[in-house]
């Protein structure tokens, strides 16, 4: 029967097809061009902020511009060799055969992955919220809660085998984050209290709670600094190489969690619930979905993912809690979730970009004396371009995407 054949063909296409559609529909052109434009404009700013340009200006403007270009070029070279490592050094090290030298040469590459890992978790947290119609600005606070819970489990239980201790500590982190997401979720669902306001407030509570815990109950005995005790070895995410490479299991956990989030959102009925509530709450109610439940579940899950970011950092990299273990992963995550179009795959890719830039920037600061803030400026520029695709379209003379003839589906974040 040709009809049946036709059907199976279509069904086969749909399995891969739906995934592909999800990605391709969002059109990669704009994000790629936005990144490109951000890097370009970042270079201009590096040039403009370079002193050489101004000292030279009086002598020869052309020379000054040359200096500016040179400064921009140099900083990008250090940025990228900082994030990927220098090929020359890698080859030399391999030829030399010295283990430590090889590890040093390859360290920048692995360090970029280490830096990307918390971004993956954080980005997934924000993306899951957005897909469910919720704007979770509380990721940063949830990261801290995840850190507190996981570290406490990490140093309190002694003598547990790693196979139990590590998952326990990691899941405790997820639980801590989930708790911090649950509260604003409950407030939103039951009272209509806006999650944007409440998650910001929850952030402050988390930060101050961390301060207090590190001064009193969780303070490391004998230390004058506000830091927690070091976690047991059995709670650590195993690292794959010796020093100085810090690359650890967390990266693969993050990838697995991203796949899980994708499966949950797009393949299960629960994900269907959340996405429908996010896309059109009125239709969701009409279809018999429980919006109260969906809102609470979505915020808790989002918080759990954020909590994993905290657990990952502390169990994999820092091994103790401090007030500064997150340089704003949670806030950057909002940006990168948008860059990744709230799709788990997109989130992984943009997390890799952010991690790489962050890592390179640190090295750039050390090597070329360019302040690390330039990376924040660049990230801001990239996001501005993403947020205003019209600018990118105008610059690159792209065609307007086909206008949906029926009602355009527009919905502000959070509100309804």
């Amino acid at each position: 029967m040709t009809n049946a054949e036709d059907k199976t063909k279509k069904a086969g296409k749909s399995a891969v097809g739906i995934f592909f559609e999800e990605v391709s529909r969002s059109s990669l052109v704009i994000p790629v061009l936005a990144i490109f434009s951000g890097l370009l404009l970042g270079g201009v700013i590096v040039g403009l902020s370079s002193e050489n340009v101004y000292t030279m200006w009086a002598v020869s403007p052309i020379q000054a511009i040359g200096n500016g270009l040179k400064a921009a070029w140099e900083s990008y070279v250090t940025l990228f060799s900082g994030s990927f490592g220098s090929p020359a050094k890698m080859i030399a090290a391999i030829q030399g055969g010295d283990g430590l030298a090889i590890r040093r040469a390859f360290n920048p590459l692995f360090e970029s992955l280490v830096k990307s890992t918390p971004y993956i978790f954080g980005g997934l947290a924000v993306a899951l919220g957005f897909r469910s119609g919720l704007f979770n600005i509380g990721v940063e606070g949830q990261i801290f809660m995840g850190g507190i819970f996981s570290v406490w489990v990490g140093y309190t239980f002694i003598g547990l085998p790693a196979i139990i201790h590590l998952p326990l500590a990691f899941l405790a982190g997820a639980l801590g984050g989930a708790l911090w997401g649950f509260v604003p979720g409950l407030l939103k669902a039951k009272t209509g209290g806006h999650e944007v306001i409440n998650t910001i407030m929850m952030n402050y509570i988390a930060f101050r709670l961390t301060d207090w815990l590190l001064r009193e109950p969780m303070k490391r005995p004998g230390s004058t600094n506000p830091i927690s005790p070091i976690i047991e070895d059995s709670a650590r995410l195993p690292q794959f190489f010796q020093d100085p490479i810090r690359f650890h299991l967390g990266f693969f956990v993050a990838l697995a969690v991203a796949a899980l989030v994708y499966w949950f959102l797009f393949k299960t009925k629960w994900g269907f619930d959340l996405r429908t509530v996010g896309a059109n709450p009125r239709a969701a109610r009409y279809a018999g979905m429980n919006i109260v439940k969906s809102t609470i579940v979505a915020m808790s899950l989002s918080g759990a993912l954020a909590g994993m970011a905290g657990a990952n950092e502390l169990l994999g990299v820092n091994h103790h809690l401090s007030q500064t273990f997150s340089p704003g992963y949670g806030f950057d995550s909002i940006a990168l979730a948008l860059l990744g179009r709230n799709h788990p795959l997109g989130v992984v890719l943009s997390a890799l970009l952010f991690g790489t830039l962050r890592n390179g920037a640190m090295r750039m600061q050390a090597a070329a004396g360019i302040p690390i803030d330039i990376i924040s400026v660049m990230q801001a520029l990239i996001l501005a371009f993403i947020a205003a695709p019209a600018i990118v379209r105008t610059i690159y003379r792209l065609k307007e995407p086909k206008k949906a003839e029926a009602g355009v589906h527009v919905r502000g974040w959070g509100g309804s």
Binding site: K7, K10, A11, S14, A15, G17, I18, E21, K267, T268, K269, W270, F272, T276, A279, N280, R282, A283, A284, R285, Y286, A287, G288, M289, N290, K402, A404, E405, A406, G407, V408, H409
Partner: protein, 508 residues
């Protein structure tokens, strides 16, 4: 005499679609020229070309005999073309005067808004064309029909001589529509030329001087109301013979399916929108709920489907008390609901047709097995329904937002009627749809009735109520004024009831 507007061989292609295929059309001065066609026939594209929003691939536009290139809506306005959009472009918190002067403000002393001179021009226009409106009224406080007059005044204020009305009656009550036709005639008598876009046959015959029928981007023919009748126009529009009067057997009501007792429901503004409504509805009959929009029909439907909690009274479905049941419980008892606002309530526009077709059954077998969505089953289901319900979509995987209004409604109808149901609550099931879709949906509703389903049909279109119902309940100010058997119902009687006049009261 040269026509004021001539379209000659206008062709517009969109990727994969020939939206306008060599369309030629002429508009005489002082004429009402109706452009009749189903949704998606290309009327709107043509008007968007005329209004400068699209550029034709081929063809010319001549205004008063001169070839004119219209590149933007400001070009169109300069050429004297004005459009009354289907959805009004008014700012609700502004007054009529402020809305009219918006974008073309008159000022005095180099920058102070001169509301007075605009207001007096509005009064002038009002009296010339019998467009009664208070220039100082806030737009949000005006009824829809009056808001539309403000739109017309905006055009006249800008001295438009060619007026395009895009489906102007879709938001009006029958009375308001009649008033609008009066206005259109007086505009034409004073020399304005009007293009009247619609898919409603009766209106065309009532008001137009000439009628051009468009189908699939082509002009099928031009005729006059004298030479045409409803049947002829409908078949020109649809391309085949159309059954305008649905044939149905006498209803054979079975046992009571839905029993509503003294129901009271609050509106969003906490007013008593439904005030003590009681009725019984049996399997195998259609109970039509007639009434002017906003007399509690919306709240009644929402209460019956679990979307709004009644404050008092009782709803019994098949003997079960569902007064405080959730939408899902009510759905699972065998209720289908075609919601009034299909895009807001009935569909997720960003979802493909497939997902919209399982919007309220996605969690059941075979669409989900142990919480995992079964994409193949969902797609098979959609493929089947797309054929069975004649949903015109390039593929079931396209977003439902890309479908025409009629096909979007068919998606909802397919989803709701393909389940085993006992009660069908249909609110405005054919609002804004074309003849073909209306005919189709009507026949499906009657089919369900004949299968023994109890049908509650809520509609503001009296024609629709009269055609489909076995009994008619008329709602006025939250109450059912009377329930009339179809045999005793006349348009006049129902119309009076809709206005709250009970026949028994007429003497008083």
């Amino acid at each position: 005499m040269t026509p004021i507007l001539e379209l000659d061989g206008i062709t517009k292609r969109f990727p994969g679609v020939l939206a306008n295929d060599r369309i030629s059309l002429s508009l005489e001065e002082g004429e009402i020229h109706a452009l009749l066609g189903e949704n998606g026939a290309g009327k709107t594209t043509l008007m968007n070309i005329l209004y400068g929003l699209y550029h034709p691939d081929e063809g010319t536009i001549r205004i008063r005999g001169e070839v004119t290139h219209i590149r933007s809506s400001s070009d169109a306005i300069r050429a004297g073309i004005g459009m009354v959009h289907q959805h009004f472009m008014l700012i609700p918190v502004f007054t009529v005067t402020e809305n009219v002067m918006l974008g073309d403000e008159t000022t005095k002393f180099g920058g102070i808004l001169d509301r007075e001179s605009t207001a007096s021009r509005i009064r002038e226009i009002s009296s010339t064309y019998k467009l009664e409106v208070d220039p100082d009224a806030r737009v949000s406080a005006l009824p829809v029909g009056v808001q539309q007059r403000v739109e017309i005044i905006k055009l006249l204020y800008r001295e438009a001589s060619i007026l395009i009305f895009d489906e102007p009656t879709s938001v009006l009550t029958p009375q308001e529509a009649d008033q609008l036709f009066g206005i259109m005639r007086s505009l034409a008598e004073s020399g304005k030329s009007i293009i009247f876009i619609t898919h409603k046959l009766r209106e065309v015959l009532d008001v137009a001087d000439r009628i051009t029928v468009i189908r699939q981007g082509q002009v099928i023919g031009t005729t006059t109301p004298q030479d045409a009748n409803m049947g002829k126009l409908a078949s020109m529009m649809v391309g085949r013979d159309v059954v305008l009067e649905i044939e149905k057997a006498k209803a054979r009501p079975a046992e009571v399916t839905l029993r509503v007792k003294n129901l009271k429901v609050l509106s969003d503004r906490n007013a008593l929108a439904v005030n003590g409504v009681s009725f019984e509805l049996s399997g195998g009959e259609v109970l039509g709920v007639a009434g002017v929009q906003g007399n509690g029909q919306t709240e009644l439907v929402e209460a019956l489907t679990g979307l709004r909690h009644p404050v008092d009274g009782r709803i019994e479905l098949l003997g079960t008390d569902v007064t405080h049941a959730t939408p899902r419980q009510i759905t699972e008892l065998g209720t289908a609901h075609i919601p009034e606002d299909r895009q807001r309530d009935g569909l997720v526009l960003s979802y493909p047709v497939t997902d919209n077709l399982v919007l309220n059954t996605y969690y059941l077998k075979p669409f989900a097995e142990r919480a995992v969505l079964q994409r193949e089953a969902i797609l098979d289901h959609a493929t089947e329904l797309v054929v069975a319900f004649d949903i015109r979509a390039p593929s079931p995987l396209v977003d439902v937002s890309t479908l025409s209004g009629g096909n979007q409604q068919k998606v909802i109808v397919a989803r709701e009627l393909s389940r085993p149901i006992k009660l069908l609550v249909a609110a405005q099931p054919t609002r804004g749809l074309d003849v073909g879709s209306i005919e189709y949906i009507h026949s499906r509703v009657i089919e369900k009735r004949d299968e023994g389903v109890a049908v509650l049909l809520v509609s503001t279109e009296l024609d629709e109520i009269m055609q489909l119902s076995d009994r008619i309940a008329v709602m006025y100010r939250g109450q059912i004024v009377d329930i009339v058997a179809i045999g005793d119902a006349t348009k006049e009687r129902i119309g009076l009831l809709m206005a709250g006049v009970h026949p028994g009261d007429t003497g008083a």
